[in-house]
Amino acid sequence: MTYTAQDFKSNQEVRWCPGCGDHAVLAAIQRALPLVCEDRGWHKDNIMFVSGIGCSSRLPYYMNTYGFHSIHGRATAISTGIKVANPNISVWQACGDGDALAIGGNHFIHAIRRNIDINIILFNNQIYGLTKGQYSPTSKLGQITKTSPYGTVENPFTPGSLVLGARGTFFARGLDVEMGLNTEIFRAAAAHDGCSVCEMLTNCVIFNDGAHKDITDREIRADRTITLHHGQPMVFGKDKEKGLILVHGKLKIVKIGENGITMSDILVHDAHSADPAIHNQLINMKYPDFPVAIGVIRDISEPTYDDRVRDQLEDVKKASKITCMDELLHSGATWTVE
């Protein structure tokens, strides 16, 4: 079945603020899904969007697919139930940094640990937007918000590290302004069997404007971010003149052509490496010491929870002599009264 982005747009008016980063992510999703359906042979009615509460969680209403806008933090648990009940549904989840990492943190890590085949799009604007500007678990240390008028005194999560800590099999990071890359990320997430986490660094124009501008502004983006592609050297900069090498197990920035460094010295990105050590370093690269890594950072293949559930059901069915309720009722110790 061939679809266009238009097929995935619902008739609902999009109510995010003008300039909100979520618009661009939505557009990338709607652009990616026709490609995904083609890649995987899916029909639109097999795709559904689940969300929790927050600005980004309005997303299911804007998609012309099955959708469930649930309650704060619980989207991951709802997605899990849908996927276990019907593994043929492609489940996509929209959630924010407060929704997924604060109130829903428990469900988030356990879905990743189980490797249930859902695609989590984590809109990270480092603020609570819908409640009008309180700090979130990803707000920077010292950030001034309505509930931290003197600056926060707590360290933020790095969502990717949390994913690795929970034995994640897929992690990608995108910038709201990189629509082309995001489209590729969502395609890769759909191609991945297992729990995919796609962190989208989004801008909240009202309550946290410019949170990511150190890396997203057009003129500095090439120097301050590095786009990773599996099997390709890790280079960045306007002219791809910089790269990453590994020195004593640690990543280091080098200039190609300086100090005898050639392209062959540059580290090649291996997203399929089961060992998360380099993935963890890539995830934790922060400006100004390093460029911020975007693209698919980790994508490894492991059995999924939903497949295991299905396999076990089939195995037990084959091995069991009991095939219906009446047989179960009469199984075990019974006696007859004449």
Binding site: D45, G67, I71, R74, A77, I78, I82, A85, H330
Partner: protein, 610 residues
């Protein structure tokens, strides 16, 4: 001493010991053997929350009461005819449950100075300290005898001592004239993978039986004849197992696979454990990361088209409140099983109560009525679960099934039903529609909306916690909100059109109507029956359906001069009735001790108002 066989209609026996003494198993095996023998039985485990509480202390005493009889066994019995006490603490904690005529079996080996002291006695003579001198005390060195029985078994000393419960069981089998074969068969099955343990357990059971036959101390044995039961095939079942099976039965009848998302919690866990066994019958179980994930995974599964269930107990129901509101506003079928326990908060987790009724009725934000069904006996949990699932699916709404620890852990013989005698379950599944699908368009009779599964072409729609209009579009329009609130409530009210009418046991009109609900049925029924045998004008009206109430409830109440509502809480059902049917006066009898009623206290309470 001359030996007599006492022919009796019913006997109550209470096994108690340290929580590691195996009293639950002993009691269960005794009950099962009696059921197979043809008796009516009713059981009541009474155990501490700690898995292995401090050895020899009163807080660590675990008890199991079995009521066996040839007629009229509807409760586990108030007081016991035989008390088995494996140590001084067990005797101290349970002496109050022994009838004045009771025989008491004690393991004298455990009545040493240290254990007597640890049990908190002030003297070194527990029998007279507890005023039990005139009871028939059967003093047996059970530990020593078990050691002797197994001295050649090659087992280590610790394992040998652990077999003392089998020795005690053997003694009881003699005392009650029970055949040993059933337990032999059980041992063979239990130790299939450790066959070296079959023979020692068999031997110690047999030796216990012979020991009891040979000693002079046992003056009476009991003959409890098989009950005159309806013809059929029977099995023993406890409430949690029956709940699980009722849900599986509803899954089969509806053709919807069963999904259970739950988090372990006493005393509901056994339902999840039981469901996990039966994957062969299209059962999927997910042990969630917390109570909230339990209900939310179930809600997701409901949206996707499964018969969705979450099981819990009081504190877990509190955690599920917000999500239950979501299931209610999205109008998805969901069964929430609450096996009530003593609260508030963690309360006394292993003890029974009916204190979650108000939470089930009102414990959510917004206008959020939810249908409530209650189970009234261990085997009735099957029907209660079946119908809770039927109503949830056919009426597209969450249903709370209230069970109780007393029912979940209690067991009774059950005449095995046939699935062909159960009604069909026809959920309003929609597979195509003309024009745009309206998710909240309603059936004109039931007010149920249609159930559209993701994966169905053309029925793409969105649900969620935000208020919607009939078309499924978010709406904060004042009139629409009022309309949707009314429609959702009306759907619950209309369930009454599909419920059986409320029945009355006893006179259909008259002086006193005893009103109860849920797991107190056996006690209330027994109390009312005994009052009626004395010629008193007392009837019983016991509710299985709490919300909505059966349609004829007011009419039933109007036929009696006095109504007394008896429940294991401070009056939650009575308050609910006052709100719903304020035209009547409700007297109350309440108990909140974490224990079931005693028949006598109900009889006394009713006599007081007669």
């Amino acid at each position: 001493m001359p030996h007599t066989v006492v022919d009796t209609k019913d006997v109550v026996i209470r096994f108690c010991g340290d929580s590691g003494d195996g009293m639950q198993l002993t009691g269960t095996l005794f009950a099962d053997a009696s059921a197979l023998y043809g008796n009516q039985i009713s059981t009541f485990p009474d155990y501490p929350a700690e898995i292995r509480a401090p050895h020899g202390t009163v807080s660590g005493v675990s008890g199991f009461q079995v009521h066996i009889g040839s007629d009229g066994v509807n409760t586990p019995g108030d007081f016991c005819d035989v008390l088995v006490a494996m140590n001084p603490a067990a005797l101290r904690a349970n002496a109050k449950w022994a009838k004045p005529t009771a025989s008491i079996i004690i393991d004298t080996d455990s009545f040493d100075e240290a254990l007597i002291k640890r049990a908190g006695y002030k003297t070194d003579d527990p029998i007279s300290e507890l005023g039990l001198e005139d009871r028939n005390i059967i003093c047996s060195p059970i530990t020593t005898l078990t050691k002797e029985s197994l001295s050649d078994s090659g087992m280590d000393a610790k394992s040998i001592v652990r077999c003392k419960n089998m020795f005690t069981l053997g003694m009881c089998f003699y005392l009650f004239n029970r055949p040993l074969e059933y337990t032999y068969a059980y041992l063979e099955k239990k130790f299939r993978k450790k066959p070296q343990l079959i023979e020692p357990n068999r031997k110690v059971l047999f030796d216990g039986f012979n020991y009891a036959a040979n000693i002079q101390a046992i003056a009476n044995t009991y003959e409890v004849k098989p009950a005159k039961l309806e013809k059929g095939v029977y099995r023993n079942i406890n409430g949690n197992q029956a709940t699980a099976w009722g849900l599986i039965a509803a899954s089969e009848k509806s053709g919807r696979p069963l999904f259970c998302g739950s988090y372990p919690i006493t005393p509901a866990t056994a339902i999840l454990e039981e469901l996990a066994i039966h994957k062969n019958l299209n059962v999927k179980t997910l042990q969630a990361e917390d109570e909230i994930a339990g209900i939310c995974t179930a809600i997701g599964a409901a949206y996707a088209g499964d018969l969705a269930v979450t099981t819990t107990s009081g504190p877990g129901l509190s955690l599920k409140s917000e999500a239950l509101g979501l299931a209610m506003i999205t109008e998805l079928p969901l069964v929430v099983v609450d096996v009530q326990r003593s609260g508030p908060s963690t309360g006394i987790p292993t003890k029974t109560e009916q204190t979650d009724l108000a939470q089930a009725l009102y414990g959510r934000n917004g206008e959020c009525p939810v249908a409530i069904v209650a189970a009234h006996s261990p085997s009735h949990c099957f029907d209660a679960a079946f119908y809770a699932a039927k109503y949830a699916m056919e009426h597209m709404m969450p249903v709370i099934l209230l069970s109780e620890g007393f029912l979940g852990n209690g067991s009774e013989p059950w005449k095995i039903p046939s699935m062909k005698d159960y009604p069909a379950i026809n959920p309003p599944v929609i597979t195509k529609c003309e024009g745009a699908f309206q998710p909240f368009a309603r059936d004109p009779e039931t007010f149920a909306r249609k159930w559209a599964f993701p994966g169905t072409p053309g029925l793409e729609h969105r649900v969620g916690g935000l208020e919607k209009n009939t078309a499924g579009v978010i709406s904060s329009d004042p009139e629409n909100h009022a309309k949707m609130v009314w429609e959702r409530a009306e759907k619950v009210r209309r369930l009454a059109n599909y419920l059986p009418l409320q029945q009355v046991y006893g006179n259909q009109e008259g002086e006193v109507l005893v009103v109860g609900w849920g797991g107190t049925f056996g006690h209330l029924y027994t109390a009312v029956r005994s009052l009626r045998e004395e010629g008193k004008d007392v009837s019983l009206c016991h509710f299985d359906f709490i919300n909505p109430l059966p349609k004829n409830t007011a009419e039933v109440f109007s036929r009696f001069r006095k109504i007394i509502v008896c429940e294991l809480n401070c009056g939650q059902f009575a308050d609910y009735l006052r709100a719903r049917l304020p035209q009547f006066t409700y007297l109350q009898y309440n108990k909140v001790q974490g224990q079931p009623f005693i028949v006598k206290e109900i009889v006394d309470a009713v006599n007081e108002i007669l």
